[in-house]
Symmetry: C2
Subunit: 244 residues, 2 copies
Amino acid sequence: MELIERAKIRLCVDHPLGEGKTVPLDEAQAHYLFAVMRLGPGARVALFNGADGEWTAEVTEAAKKRGTLLCLGLAAPQLSPPDLWLLFAPIKKERTDFIVEKATELGCARVLPVATEFTNAGRIRQDRLQAHALEAAEQCLGTYVPEVADLEPLRKVLAGWDPARRILWADESLVGPAETLAGLAPGPWAILIGPEGGFSEAERAALRALPFVTPVSLGPRILRADTAACAAITLWQAALGDWR
Amino acid sequence: MELIERAKIRLCVDHPLGEGKTVPLDEAQAHYLFAVMRLGPGARVALFNGADGEWTAEVTEAAKKRGTLLCLGLAAPQLSPPDLWLLFAPIKKERTDFIVEKATELGCARVLPVATEFTNAGRIRQDRLQAHALEAAEQCLGTYVPEVADLEPLRKVLAGWDPARRILWADESLVGPAETLAGLAPGPWAILIGPEGGFSEAERAALRALPFVTPVSLGPRILRADTAACAAITLWQAALGDWR
């Protein structure tokens, strides 16, 4: 299939995309395109919705609080991530933002902040983190935005866990050679990254007792949580994900 | 060999460390330990110098502008990185800081900022980046601080390159499955990460013509330069470095 040229300005929409489809804009989107970016009728915009790929669309109506776009052609095929989730304990604001951004870029399907015993952050701004994931996808020409869940206690998340989804646990006590992940079975996985200070003894015992949890080392150095998240996603993607 | 308990406050010094050795402090170090951290005689400090491991030392003299420490015992063995350099094109300030931090944590021996045709930053603050590497090592219990070189044009760096050091080039045009690095020969390597916007056609042709350059893909997604640096170092460490 021939692809149309990609537009520079990108927008994630909650609407089906396809040949000849029109897409209505909400107030915030119309404000962004017409007031901030100063686009008018005839301008081209890249649209994606997480399912239908990236479409180049043309502005057909530009009003103050609304607008309409018409899909002209497919500009890039949909690239959804493999079925990989990231569970992480929120840390300082910038580093939490960073983890969400990197999970989006490196290809995670869902991001789940979890509160552990040594987690300092009592709450997170889920809406802000979700917006951060959206921005990362828009900036990196992505066509998929991972859902960022609300903060939940790790205990509760593990209690309701579907054992068919295996967990790759970055166990900071395993400082040493990084396991090769090549021998692990493909399928639904989640990566679990702890907070600064690691997991408590009780958490460690609980994790070790779960049959669907595989502890791994991330090398001989102590890594910050955000670095550990990047490294673990990279190793998983190269061994089991869509980087193969 | 029995290791002594590690001290919480860490200091990188430019002085040999060993059994019974005394270490003089300069004015900035004395100010940090005695004025900022409020330590006095008898307090314990972790010292490392990039070569002798981490030593627990005791304050034996605490003055306003000077001081002396006495090494009590080895607290952690030296962990030097493999012979891996990181060449990267400086980007926005926070992301440049971030690359230096991650190169330190993930285990690079040297960091070389290079100016490419599409590099925006005309200069860098080498001293600030070097301090950033030091801080990353101090915070992550590291015993090695990579040297951060001054900014040089990529052209000049490649013209004087020792061909015995191979270059793993994160070629952003190779979007697709990530190569497995398992087949590459160990030895001295450098990773080369481009700026936003990638390399120019002339640069790409020059890199392709160099026999010591191996282009690699980092998966099917477009990654920011800082993400690409983390991913490439991780893959190299797992295949050829000290994460094996």
